[in-house]
């Protein structure tokens, strides 16, 4: 461990940029223009520093970058850790949040922006960044809360009756989740005597040396899994998803589905594939226990999400339910990989073991889902802005009148389905490959579960095609009904819309200005191009995901990177002096 790799400001930069922007927007509330400029500058800065961190950690030579807050060495103080997994997730956040922010600036009602949209948005980003970066399990809880607290208010932002109701159930569920998480964390602290994830992994790996009772941590890990599944909206913890996603403003929903959901996924990967994997329980490692659970919940998510989405007559609900199904595709490779984590992979597969490959596949799919679903939610948001509804009955024939919108939806939908050369193709390919490799090489229950997962994924994929096609047919093809006619009289594209006077009698929704639409169209186009671009340059994404997968499954590397056995700067690493009070009661 070279001393220079410790405490690099770039590690804490995403967190600080988001935090500073949130506070500055709060201070700049006297003038909306100033606030917007600050907010956008902060958004650009956030994307830039996440890219820098990604470049440094994933593409560069550094592997694990610890950052000791307040200069307290691990495991005593709170440690931030940037490894390939964290940096990749942050880069994902950077890619999605900036377009969503630009969209929000023009789309969210001015009155709403005057209240506190921008500070909340950036506090949410700070929470997300902190959750991705922290190497301390209680600190993870704190960042979860920062993120959730902002998202509660953002969900209720438009404060209509439906929104408050959705937000109330969202808040109550997450409050329960937080209490459960707190219980699990308290138990983990009592049994292992530490909150630092790296220290916990080390102690779980050598329970005798540190006087740790391993068995209770399994149940506590199960509690944590339930909490993370709730955050990620995996069946059977999905029931808050449709209402909350519908209630939130479109750009917020894009971030909720694209990034906030992935925090749950990240936490599952980090804690189970890096930390709990170190412990040896009665029937194998924690992964052996968690694998079947993840596969079954993934199967349930894919089938349920797909079926529920097919039956919806409203675009936003369809998309919300679809993200329940899509999370199944992210969890499935994790579950299958957990069944046989040490299975060696053949050449040409990104990852040396099945565990690393599974995580890599999940990450590529997460990236696809984040960008594609973000794009689709923003399309739905544009429809709401222009026409005032996303109900299928009142939409139709948009393709001819709004080609940019239609093109963006088409690309997003195709990427969700997994059509080459979009990035979604590679996501699906890797997910299926994980299943095939595990099914072919494994034996017994593991292989059967892998094949079950594959079958469900196939069903899920077909259902994805079905609901995307249905939405496309209903919204973009066919004869435009009166609601559309009133607003879009003739062929419209971003640059050509003259005025909205025509919509004056069409209702209150014709007030969208030309500039708003132009910006929204540009954001959609940029995201659509991102999908194509990363699809063509999928090597980068897959390589980064492979590196992240290796980092996530390399427990020893993580532990040594955070605090080496011989200590950093002369401070000795802790030597098992925990009083062992965990066993005392």
């Amino acid at each position: 461990m070279v001393a220079s790799s410790v405490n690099q400001p770039v590690v804490v930069a995403p967190l600080l940029v988001a935090l500073a922007t949130a506070i500055l927007t709060l201070l700049a509330r006297f003038d909306l223009r100033v606030e917007r400029v600050v907010s956008l500058a902060g958004g650009v800065g956030y994307t830039a520093v996440t890219a820098l961190l990604f470049q440094r950690v994933v593409l560069g030579s550094e592997s694990v970058l610890p950052y000791y807050l307040s200069n307290w060495p691990a495991p005593y103080g709170i440690t931030l850790v940037a490894d390939a997994l964290s940096a990749s997730m942050l880069a994902l956040a950077g890619v999605v949040t900036l377009p969503a922010l630009v969209f929000a600036v023009v789309s969210v009602r001015e009155r709403g922006q005057r209240l506190s949209f921008h500070p909340l948005y950036h506090f949410m980003l700070a929470g997300v960044s902190g959750a991705f970066l922290t190497g301390d399990i209680f600190n993870l809880f704190v960042w979860f809360e920062v993120m959730l607290m902002s998202s509660y208010v953002l969900v209720v932002f438009y404060s209509g009756p439906e929104h408050t109701r959705a937000a109330l159930s969202y808040v109550v569920l997450n409050l329960l989740g937080s209490a459960v998480m707190l219980v699990a964390i308290g138990g983990l602290y009592a049994t292992t005597g530490t909150l630092n994830m790296a220290a916990m992994a080390r102690r779980l790996g050598e329970p005798a040396a540190y006087n740790v009772a391993v068995a209770p941590t399994l149940g506590l890990a199960a509690l944590l899994l339930a909490v993370f599944a709730l955050k990620a909206g995996i069946v059977p913890f999905h029931f808050w998803v449709p209402a909350a996603y519908r209630a939130a403003p479109a750009p917020v929903t894009a971030v909720l589905a694209g990034v906030v959901k992935k925090v749950g996924i990240y936490a599952i990967v980090r804690l189970f594939f890096t930390v709990f994997v170190a412990a040896e329980y009665a029937n194998g490692s924690a992964l052996d226990y968690v694998g079947p659970v993840l596969v079954v919940t993934a199967v349930a998510s894919m089938v349920y999400g797909g079926l529920a989405a097919v039956g919806r007559d409203e675009l936003e609900q369809l998309l919300a339910l679809s993200s329940v199904g899509q999370v199944g595709f992210i969890v499935l490779p994790l579950g299958i990989a957990a069944l046989a984590p040490n299975l060696p992979m053949p050449n040409g597969v990104p990852g040396e073991t099945l565990a690393a490959f599974g995580v890599a596949a999940a990450l590529v799919y997460s990236f696809n889902h984040a960008v594609a679903k973000g794009l689709l939610f923003l399309v739905a948001g544009t429809l709401t802005d222009v026409i005032g509804t996303t109900e299928f009955d009142r939409l139709g024939g948009i393709a001819r009148r709004a080609p940019v919108l239609a093109g963006a939806f088409l690309l997003g939908g195709l990427s969700l389905i997994g059509v080459p050369p979009l990035i979604g193709f590679f996501g699906k390919l890797l997910v299926f490959r994980v299943g095939v490799l595990a099914g072919a090489a494994g034996s017994g229950t593991a292989a059967r579960l892998a094949w079950l997962g594959l079958a469900a994924a196939l069903v899920g994929a077909v259902l994805t095609i079905a609901y995307v096609t249905r939405a496309w047919n209903a919204v973009f093809w066919g004869e435009p009904p009166k609601t559309v006619e009133a607003v879009l009289e003739e062929r419209w594209s971003a640059g050509r819309r003259e005025s909205t006077a025509a919509a004056a009698d069409g209702g209150q929704f014709g007030v969208t200005s030309r500039r708003t639409l132009a910006v929204e169209a540009v954001v959609l186009a940029v995201l659509a191009v991102t999908l194509v671009g990363f699809g063509v340059g999928a090597d980068l994404v897959v390589e980064a995901a492979a590196e992240a997968g290796e980092a996530a499954t390399d427990t020893a590397g993580y532990v040594d990177g955070v605090y080496p056995e011989d200590g950093i700067d002369g401070v000795p690493a802790d030597g098992g002096d925990h009083s062992g009070d965990g066993g005392g009661h």
Partner: protein, 188 residues
């Protein structure tokens, strides 16, 4: 914090604020706000005595917080409790215009909450800024330092801890946030 409550507030705000007009209080003969009839002399007297004690305790907790039990949050909560006590017994109008000296003129009905928000934002900025300051010196985020000033009268030695800046920031944030809530919910 609770900004969203502003958007849908009913136009007419009924409640105790309507009763606190400037009138001659018949029982004491003093000119002052007409207190809510439900509060008794005992309650009013007790609050008069208790509130200063609470505020002093809150400040003590704030200033010793960096190395003794206490801190910005608990100090702020106590301060807000003092404010709530005054609000419950004497009404919101009295709390804001008499004690805090903020006029909620008809033109700017949200002037007090505006002040609280500045307190909230300023506190956050102070707390985060005190954390970021060490970065300029090449130290990690949130690094704290302490200095001792010697030769002062009475005190002799005074401890100046950078953690106090953070605590002050937290104090401002929490007081600002809680008073916003009290003002917003109280008006409804």
């Amino acid at each position: 914090m609770s900004d969203e409550t502003e958007s849908n507030r009913p136009a007419a705000t009924a409640g105790p604020t309507d009763e606190t007009e400037q009138t001659v209080n018949t029982s004491t003969g003093r000119v002052g706000p007409a207190f809510d009839h439900r509060t008794t002399v005992i309650a009013r007297t007790v609050v008069r005595v208790v509130v200063p004690v609470v505020v002093v305790t809150a400040l003590a907790l704030l200033f010793q917080g960096h190395n003794r039990p206490g801190g910005g949050f608990i100090g702020a909560v106590l301060t807000a409790t003092a404010a709530v006590l005054v609000y419950v017994i004497f009404g919101l109008e009295y709390l804001q215009s008499h004690l805090l000296g903020i006029d909620s003129s008809p033109n700017e009905p949200h002037a007090p909450t505006g002040w609280y928000r500045w307190l909230f934002a300023g506190g956050l900025a102070l707390a985060a800024g005190s954390g970021m300051f060490p970065l300029l010196a090449g130290l990690p985020f949130l690094t704290q330092g302490v200095a001792f000033v010697h030769g002062l009268p009475i005190y002799g030695e005074l401890e100046v801890a950078s953690a106090l800046a953070f605590d002050l920031g937290v104090y401002g944030t929490v007081v600002g946030g809680l008073l916003t809530v009290v003002a917003e919910v109280g008006e409804e």
